[in-house]
């Protein structure tokens, strides 16, 4: 069981790390899509079927598309998808910071007295989940719904609200 997890984790981390260091922005995005798919596979492995499919639908189906759209909209020419790495010193600092955080977190994880795993995954059907969402978590569901709506409207306003156009400028 752990072998599957390790393989999944390594594949996911590998794609993420490579994606973060590539020069070609489009390749980065597509590789990150693979990362997200890997995380979805992890959810599936953990038995959270619904979350896995939601992750797939939202990240692979929607967010990757939006990011690709943004990449295509923000370039000067056809071939302008290169994202040159920043200054070397910045990369070194970033790597150091990342390594430090990773070290602290890994140390904490390995030293923490964590409860042992239950024998089987807590079975949760979609029906139960729906009941939970509409019952105990109804308020947060509403809050998330409002947040999503506001974010969507805000995104449209931000992206589409260009400078005021001179009359007669448009055909």
């Amino acid at each position: 069981m752990n072998t599957v997890l390790v393989i999944l984790a390594l594949a996911t981390l590998g794609t993420a790390a490579v994606a973060m260091s590539l020069r070609n922005l489009l390749h980065s995005v597509l590789l990150l899509t693979a990362t997200w798919a890997g995380v979805a596979a992890f959810y599936l492995w953990a038995g959270a079927e619904f979350v896995a499919f939601a992750q797939l639908l939202v990240y692979v189906g929607a967010i990757s598309m939006a990011v690709l759209f943004a990449v295509l909209l923000t370039r000067h020419s056809r071939d302008d998808v290169a994202a040159p790495p920043a200054a070397r010193s910045r990369g070194v600092y970033a790597a150091a910071a990342g390594a430090a955080v990773a070290g602290v977190l890994l140390a904490a994880v390995s030293l923490a007295p964590l409860a042992t795993a239950p024998a089987r995954a807590p079975a949760v059907s979609v029906r139960q989940l729906g009941g939970e969402l509409m019952g105990a978590h109804a308020a947060s569901l509403l809050a998330v719904a409002v947040l999503l709506t506001v974010a969507l409207v805000g995104a449209v306003v931000l992206a589409a609200g260009g400078p005021p156009e001179k009359p007669g400028d448009t055909p």
Partner: protein, 103 residues
């Protein structure tokens, strides 16, 4: 290592990769994607504790993960809109040059 610790190690490393990417790159889309990875690492934790942690309500972890995904989606939408807005103003999306608050 127990499976829970493995999962947590996985999420920590994912978080670190996202952090490194977000700090190292100057392209705002890549920075945004780094943040996204860090958020994903957070929801990996939710699922890990739900699966292997001390038993609580059976659906709590899943519900939290779903909320996290929804919030991440909202964050990306707004972030990308910002990227496009910045691009329209200064014709590139390099972060060091987007240091003015004035249009």
């Amino acid at each position: 290592m127990s499976p829970l610790q493995l999962c947590l190690a996985f999420s920590s490393l994912l978080f670190a990769v996202g952090l490194t990417g977000a700090l190292a790159r100057s392209n705002s889309i890549l920075v945004l994607l780094g943040l996204e990875l860090m958020l994903t690492a957070g929801s990996v934790n939710f699922i890990a504790f739900w699966r292997f942690g001390p038993p609580a309500s059976p659906a709590t972890g899943v519900v939290f993960a779903i909320f996290a995904i929804a919030v991440a989606a909202a964050e990306t939408a707004v972030g990308l809109a910002l990227v496009i807005a910045v691009y329209r103003h200064q014709r590139n999306i390099r972060l060091p040059e987007a240091n003015r608050l004035k249009g």
